[in-house]
């Protein structure tokens, strides 16, 4: 058995999600290679080659791979796989992997196994269904398996090695039906939501975007990432990519602080693997208290300034 991990990166650096996916791959088979696709990715390569566990870095560095268009990436991946004997192809279940994985699986005529959270053996996996309200244990009958991995369920692997690389040459076969236009990247000096040790999120109870400043001060003090409930995002308080939950980002920090969030199942789905959950809510009956290690009942507008002070 031999696994191939498709690496997610931002053009400069690999994402933590890739390191978690490599850890998952190792649980299936000790023989793990990676494939990274992009344009001008020497920085990514340098970083990637330090990664433990993997035996080889395969890469394809071409202009037309710059924008990570799924049609282009999948073409290259399929031609790379020709004459190779991989039994498992793994991607992180980030928007990158979710967009790309099913394409690869479909071309290979296999049923992708989405968002696995546990590995029993090379063909048996656990995956959450119904927003994590049930866990399905599935066995794949496909000879080659395409898998997306929930990164928060696997520790990122260490990077203390020096791995060799090999370039994979392709003739540009750029899709004519899809074209990159713009990327409006969320600017932030804070840690990434999905890998931060502490996350503080606001919900509808914050009332408006301006009030999120009350959370910022606390986030600064704690070195926390900031998130939000769907209601807060829908209302336009904060950017879309702050949404935590079943259909947003899955987080599993050491500490999750939910402020003015009721605790709908779709939100809980995104936070319940957090080590500790604390909440601030004025309604003592709010479901969020049933999932919180520490709950504080009260008006967030009174509590947050005090909390920021107390952290001094």
């Amino acid at each position: 058995m031999k696994s191939l991990v498709i690496i997610e990166h931002d053009g400069k650096n690999i994402k933590q999600t890739s390191l978690s996916t490599i850890t998952a791959a190792e649980q299936i088979s000790k023989d793990v290679e990676v494939l990274v696709l992009g344009s001008n990715i020497s920085g990514v390569l340098e970083n990637l080659k330090k990664t433990d566990i993997i035996s080889k870095v395969n890469y394809c560095d071409e202009d037309f791979l710059k924008h990570q268009i799924a049609e282009n990436l999948s073409e290259v991946i399929i031609s790379f796989l020709k004459d190779k004997e991989f039994t498992h192809i793994l991607l992180p279940s980030s928007t990158f992997g979710k967009n790309l994985g099913p394409k690869i699986a479909t071309i290979l005529d296999v049923q992708q196994i989405s968002d696995i959270i546990e590995i029993f053996d090379h063909e048996t996996f656990a995956r959450p269904i119904y927003a994590g309200n049930a866990i399905s244990k599935v066995k794949s009958k496909d000879s080659l398996k395409v898998i997306t991995v929930r990164p928060t369920c696997f520790e990122p692997c260490a990077q203390n090695s020096n791995v060799s690389d090999e370039k994979f040459e392709v003739s540009s076969n750029q899709s004519k039906s899809v074209e990159f236009v713009t990327y409006d990247q969320s600017e932030s000096d804070r840690p990434e939501l999905t890998s931060a040790k502490i996350v503080i999120s606001g919900g509808r109870g914050m009332q408006n975007g301006e009030n999120f400043k009350l959370l910022e001060g606390i986030a600064d003090k704690l070195g926390a990432a900031m998130g939000a409930s769907r209601a807060a995002v829908d209302a336009g308080f904060v950017p879309n990519d702050w949404q935590v939950g079943q259909t947003g980002k899955i987080v599993a920090p050491d500490l999750y602080i939910a402020v003015g969030i009721s605790g709908a199942i779709q939100h809980i789905a995104g936070i319940k693997d957090s080590k500790f959950i604390a909440c601030i809510n004025k309604d003592e009956e709010a479901p969020i208290f049933n999932f919180s290690d520490y709950g504080l009942v009260g008006d967030l507008f009174e509590i947050l300034p005090k909390l920021e002070n107390e952290l001094n």
């Binding site: 928007t95 927003a131 502490i198 080590k275």
Partner: protein
């Protein structure tokens, strides 16, 4: 432009899920069923495009049992023109099988836009749109939060990705999967619900399509997730900070 909207009947998002005691799945008897919320957004988008004169006909497709007729009717009441139900006996249909059926229907219907939710809230797979795009060889625009038609007939689609918003330009025919921010679906009015009863739903038996839609995954068991126990209520801010520092040791 003709739009094909794919909709799935799922357990309503407000229902508390109960795992069956024999671990074969979740309780569905006497449970409220609804259209997958993301598919509702897809129907709404198609209806808006039609209202803006960009779409001429909306066909709703669902794959399931007879009960899925009801889900199709919901889409017809929102403003779609007609429906297609592909009937399957095997309730363990997987995304790849669904994708193959949708592709078959596309060959017959030739839609210029295929639109559906980015994920179904039952199996949470997030695959079908990508599968259909691959099988039809149409470009895919997943996780869409905005659609704009360009002068040259192409579509600009803004996608919700982990790091922000990405916009791509796709030629039609194309596949679009919807994210939450694309629109807010309307409620069907009573007159429209009545009108929808007259609209046509064609039924196709999946076995007549001669496709290999047999499951590739075997569900060994379905379990409850590990429970998260409620902790304590703290009296005030200092106590909260003290606990986080000295008990949880996370700050």
């Amino acid at each position: 432009m003709k739009a094909l909207v794919c909709v799935k009947r799922v357990i309503d998002y407000n229902v508390k899920i109960r795992v069956k005691s024999d671990k074969t799945g979740v309780e569905t008897d006497n449970v409220k069923m609804s259209m997958n919320p993301f598919d509702e957004i897809a129907v709404e988008e198609a209806v808006r495009l039609k209202e803006n004169g960009l779409v001429s006909e909306i066909v709703i497709l669902s794959i399931g049992q007879d009960s899925s007729q009801e889900t199709i009717r919901t889409g017809l009441a929102m403003g779609a023109d007609r429906g297609i139900l592909v009937k399957v006996d095997d309730i363990l249909l997987e995304p790849l099988g669904v994708g193959k059926i949708i592709k078959e229907v596309c060959e017959k219907e030739n839609p210029e836009m295929i639109i559906m939710g980015k994920q179904a809230i039952d199996d949470d797979c997030n695959q079908t749109g990508q599968i259909v795009a691959t099988l039809t060889n149409y470009p895919q625009a997943t996780f869409a939060s905005e659609l704009k038609k360009n002068e040259d007939g192409t579509l600009n689609v803004t996608r919700e990705v982990d790091g922000g918003l990405e916009t791509i330009k796709v030629k039609i025919p194309c596949v679009v999967t919807t994210d939450l921010r694309l629109n807010e679906p309307r409620y069907a009015s009573l007159p429209n619900i009545m009108k929808a009863k007259q609209k046509k739903i064609e039924t196709i038996e999946s076995k007549d399509l001669n496709l290999d839609i047999s499951p590739r995954l075997e569900v060994l068991e379905v379990n409850d997730p590990p429970e998260r126990k409620a902790g304590i209520k703290v009296p005030d801010v200092s106590n909260l900070v003290e606990k986080l520092k000295n008990e949880a040791k996370v700050i």
